[in-house]
Symmetry: C2
Subunit: 408 residues, 2 copies
């Protein structure tokens, strides 16, 4: 079950002026479920994205990049679940194009103004006819007050719909920010098997929006891991409809940071929701590495811990088998690590120092921390001032069950 | 259950002249099990070793390296299970020294002539008194015809004792080679949570023996992975008692390759046995990467596949979810990979080419291969002539159960 995560109320996901969402059941893989989402954007919207670095990236990812590079203003997004359209070669690209052409025709746009997204099983052909067949119903459903339905429409193995929303003030104008995400397995930075869409009605330059998405993704979606697998389809899209009436935010605006930080908070909440709903997760684990020479070595240590199946199963069992954490630190590949100066904490409890177990540590203290649904693992490398934080979950029987059964 | 692996018959593990083995129940962690092994070596033996690269390496590993570097001829090995004596700092080193000093006294040797080894739980103090208390019984048990007992004495979560043995002829003399190994979790190259001891009575120079161990380990123990965790205690020791009466083998001897290859075969068999007995394993999987620019990039791809929990759970389920393999190839980090030229095979079945599913491939073919207990995954990168092979196992409910319960 998801760790401290419940689906948002429909009313808590604020409409964003200039962003309409419509869902449909297109029967792409299964019946009786929403599996198609269309998002229509007001003219004048700015749209930026970051995508998976997997070299086997999916056809829709390739098409997204081409369309964003074309310079045509993006006016709609098309998302299907059930089929990832990845590992599908030229044929996959053709099928993705068919769907964007069909939506473009329906909305009186050019195909380059559409960004397509797919998530689901890899290596199977996209049933483009089913996607296209679902478009009229999705278009008929387009409305601004439809974020929760949209969050549900993009779910795959997700148990809980994921959304985050807030109002902020910029130059005396009320600004809405709303985002949704999906993903619970094949989660690893750069990026995860995740889709994320965050929209705001703030007026913000395209250049500032581009800066903000890179800042936000490095603080959020690039800090999560469930199983270390980087997917073929990961995409995060940030939309500004520019309708809120505030003075345009540029990178030098006084209020740039206000907007950036609010969007980043939403991104962090959406990213953490993915880990909280990680396949089979029973614990939410924050791995914080401090005192490194640089962020790079902190990340090596954080991911060595966050990826270790041995550590993750120990968390599942509430077993403070902390030696496994020391072992992971030891093989993380940090140059000239001095194991005698580093300190390992579980929550507030000092577990290890001077290359071994801390004198005052008693196992009951470790068990008490491990039994909590939210656990902090903190390592002080004792050799500098860099740090990083990574979020992950434990590794349970259900992870195996879900992934052994996923296609059935 | 182990995959196509049964314990060797006691009689099939040939005695090696000049190598005596004795076991005892020292009650280090649990009662009623052999947990202590002493190996005594004839004067004039050559002993070489390779050890974990984990920076949190265990106290006995540090001591082994010091003793091997001392130049004193190694005359005995001391192995305990139940406690890894890792993450134990200076105190751990003192305790390891106490045990080698006690064994040295009993055998009338210098402490530097003893190599100590520990395996088991990390971060707990070694009960040196129990190890020392078990020495008289182990010494009383010393005999050449005792390899199976020794293999059993070094088991931890292993289900099956692991041994391999053969006779070869060198210069008209019959040579015995026998080896034992242990390990089934925290298995990853450089090296695995494994202990391995291989002995021969061949007469071979120390220099040639050193070359052989590096050759053999790169073809065997450095090609296996269960969970990607490199342990703190991994050690492989190669012993030549030099008693067989053959002309001394040097690196330039005509028969050097005969000895090297026979020892390597034993090392491969012992390494594969660890994977076959991998925690929760139900399938033995060979990942072969061909057509790479260099071996390094082949290994990146092989380990991306072999470490992916998503792929390993799909193997457990006999689910030919081969897109997960393409995804792993795509995130392995190979520079400028052309996904359109690579080919993916499952057994003899061509599964993917031209960036997508092979036209002739049908899922029933994939299922048929996946249902076998021994599976070959082969990737032709189509860009060079380098290759590599890695062995791994699937990822089952039992992996989680074993690692959630290990300390209880």
């Amino acid at each position: 079950m998801p760790v401290n995560l419940i689906a948002p109320e429909a009313s808590s996901l604020l409409p964003v002026d200039g962003v309409w969402l419509g869902c449909a059941e297109a029967h792409i893989r299964k019946s009786n479920r929403k599996d198609l989402l269309v998002m229509q954007l007001a003219a004048g919207s700015h749209v930026v994205g970051v995508f998976t670095q997997n070299q086997f990236c999916a056809a829709p990812v390739l098409l997204c990049k081409t369309h964003l590079a074309s310079g045509e203003p993006i006016r709609a997004l098309l998302v299907n679940t059930g089929c990832a359209n990845a590992g599908t070669g030229e044929d996959g690209l053709s099928r993705a194009k068919l769907t964007t052409e069909a939506l473009a025709k329906s909305l009186n746009l050019k195909p380059q103004q559409i960004l397509p997204f797919s998530t689901g099983v890899i290596l199977e052909p996209l049933p483009a006819d089913k996607v296209i067949g679902g478009l009229p119903a999705a278009i008929a459903d387009l409305k601004q007050d439809n974020w929760l339905n949209a969050a549900e429409a993009i779910m795959t193995t997700d148990i809980v719909a994921k959304g985050s929303s807030r109002h902020i003030m910029l130059g005396g104008k009320q600004i809405a920010i709303t985002g949704i995400s999906k993903g619970s397995g094949m989660i690893h930075p750069n990026m995860a098997t995740m889709l994320g869409y965050i929209a705001t009605d703030a007026v913000v330059s395209a250049k500032a929006l581009e800066s903000i998405i890179h800042y936000a993704v490095n603080k959020s979606f690039n800090c999560i891991t469930v199983d270390g697998d980087t997917s073929t389809n990961d995409s995060l899209i940030l939309i500004a409809s520019n309708l809120a009436g505030n003075d345009e935010i540029s990178e030098t605006s006084a209020e740039y940071i206000v907007l950036r930080d609010a969007l980043t908070e939403v991104a962090i909440e959406l990213a953490q929701a993915i880990v909280r709903d990680g396949e089979g997760a029973t614990k939410f684990i924050t791995v914080r590495i401090e005192g490194g020479h640089d962020e790079g070595e902190c990340r090596k240590v954080a991911y060595a811990i966050a990826h270790s199946p041995l550590i993750k199963t120990a968390f599942f069992a509430s077993d403070p088998n902390l030696g496994r954490i020391l072992a992971a630190i030891g093989y993380a590949g940090v140059e000239q690590l001095d194991v005698n100066v580093l300190k390992l904490y579980l929550g507030d409890v000092l577990v290890a120092e001077h290359g071994g177990r801390a004198l005052a540590y008693e196992e009951a203290q470790g068990v008490a921390v491990m039994q909590q649904p939210e656990i902090l693992v903190r390592v002080d490398l004792g050799r500098g001032s860099a740090n990083c934080t990574v979020w992950t979950c434990d590794f349970s029987y259900d992870y195996v069950r879900i992934n052994a059964d996923y296609r059935s």
